[in-house]
């Protein structure tokens, strides 16, 4: 019985942590994507670049997000031949650039607030 409990508790904790981590990251993905598309890229290179920078996004999330951002007018895209392959290239639109600047400012403020809150909590628990 004790054996069962000692296995289940960490698994549940890990699962809980994983869910919270995904929730935390979910809101940051559009910002990361918009920031990366200051420079024109196609889907695969964008995915690789995000992964290399520590923001791995799976293709099932990335491509629908790109389409959504394009439908909202924040991105523009075009199919082009490169290395004898048809690829869809994305880049920021003028509106996307304006929104990105505002999101970056918002992110800065939020990050500062959270840092303050976390610092207070850490100081208090010591």
């Amino acid at each position: 019985m004790t054996h069962c409990i000692s296995i289940k508790v960490p698994t549940m904790t890990n699962e809980m942590f994983e869910n919270l981590r995904l929730e935390l990251r979910r809101g940051c993905v559009p910002l990361a994507v918009l920031a990366e598309l200051g420079e024109e890229r196609y889907g695969y290179t964008l995915r690789k670049s995000l992964t290399e920078k520590g923001m791995a996004v799976d293709e099932g999330t990335l491509y629908p997000l790109l389409r959504r951002l394009e439908a909202q007018g924040l991105l523009v895209s075009e199919w082009r031949k490169e290395e004898n392959r048809s690829r869809r290239f994305y880049r920021l639109s003028a509106e996307g650039r304006r929104i990105l600047d505002r999101l970056i400012a918002e992110w800065g403020a939020m990050s500062a607030s959270l840092t303050g809150i976390i610092k207070e909590t850490n100081d208090g628990s010591r």
């Binding site: 889907g43 099932g60 491509y63």
Partner: protein, 349 residues
């Protein structure tokens, strides 16, 4: 590539026609790029199992396709709790109407046509049909409501002041006690013959001559005093609740005992006369001449009266059962009432 083509075809099955080709082309390009990169790293083409592993990490085709589709709900998170509540309510009503009631009838008023086991088997079948139909209708109703409430602005148009008042389950509303006293007093005075209600006074009933009914005579005879006492006790109990509305274990127990007594008295009268009522009903078909008309009226009268009494007895039984459940869950009820009281107090502070 066969496996990749199969994967893309399976994803495409779920995609909208107008965007399908575009999405699949981009997805194919992504898969191909990933495969090429892996092959370059390994210095050889990918094996079948390696391609399969690569596709598996992308998730099931239907799941992959769903990411491209807008979020849609038949019944969304706002209406879902209400939907579950409606289903539960329908299930309980269905259970009562299709199973409990016919079974209680077959036990209390046995008939040769069907045994309780047969009634139960038929009832379960009826419950299945009834609940399925209700569930389908409720689901359709909520799906329509969902499509209406999904429109912009529909969820913002509400008034907090129209929310229902918080119910205190440990308190009996004074209005309800007062209504019970008034109705009880009226019923008792009618029962004892002190009040005259034109269409209900014994002497005025022409269509159903109650005074001659053996069932009625029994009720008015040996059962007159016990039934009157139960009625009086009910009025006294309502009077106490009017002065002290706080619910107590003793009050709930007394109410359950009174309900049980009323149900018991009426059931005893019904069982005593059941064979006579059934014999009268069986003889209805054979009565044709005008002279036999009176016998027909009497048979119908007894049948109607027995049904009215049955409903009263059943009501008493249900009310008694509710009282017993309340007593069994008393501690939990008190905790809940305290919690809601303290929540309200916190807000008012």
């Amino acid at each position: 590539m066969d496996l990749v083509d199969r994967y893309l075809s399976a994803v495409g099955f779920w995609l909208p026609k107008d965007r399908k080709a575009d999405i699949l082309q981009e997805l194919a390009e992504d898969i191909r790029s990933e495969m090429e990169e892996k092959e370059a790293g390994l210095g050889r083409p990918l094996t079948g199992p390696e391609v399969e592993a690569l596709l598996k990490t992308r998730g099931r085709p239907s799941r992959m396709a769903s990411r491209y589709l807008p979020d849609r709900h038949l019944i969304g998170p706002t209406l879902f709790p209400m939907y579950v509540f409606a289903l539960k309510l329908a299930a309980w009503i269905g259970l009562g109407a299709a199973v409990v009631l016919p079974l209680a009838l077959s036990l209390l008023l046995p008939s040769r046509a069907a045994s309780p086991a047969e009634v139960l088997s038929r009832s379960i079948h009826a419950l299945w049909t009834l609940t399925l139909t209700w569930f389908a209708l409720i689901t359709i109703g909520f799906a329509v409501a969902e499509s209406v409430q999904g429109r912009p602005g529909s969820m913002r148009d509400w008034k907090p002041s129209r929310l229902p008042a918080v119910k205190n389950r440990m308190k009996i509303p004074r209005a309800s006690s007062l209504a019970e006293i008034l109705f009880g007093a009226f019923l008792l005075s009618w029962w004892l013959g002190a009040a005259r209600v034109p269409s209900l006074a014994f002497e005025d009933i022409k269509l159903l001559p109650l005074p001659d009914s053996p069932l009625w005579l029994d009720l008015r005879g040996p059962y007159l005093v016990p039934i009157s006492l139960v009625m009086m006790a009910g009025i006294v109990l309502a009077g106490i609740s009017l002065v002290r509305p706080q619910l107590t274990r003793l009050r709930v127990g007394a109410r359950a005992a009174l309900d049980a007594a009323a149900a018991g008295l009426i059931t005893t009268v019904l069982i005593g006369h059941w064979e006579t009522i059934r014999a009268g009903l069986r003889g209805l078909r054979g009565l044709k001449s005008a002279a036999e008309g009176m016998a027909k009226v009497e048979a119908i009268r007894d049948w109607v009266l027995s049904n009215v009494l049955f409903v009263i007895a059943l009501g008493g039984l249900i009310s008694c059962f509710v009282g017993i459940v309340k007593l069994a869950r008393w501690n939990r009820m008190e905790v809940k009432a305290d919690a809601s009281k303290s929540t309200s107090a916190d807000f008012l502070r």
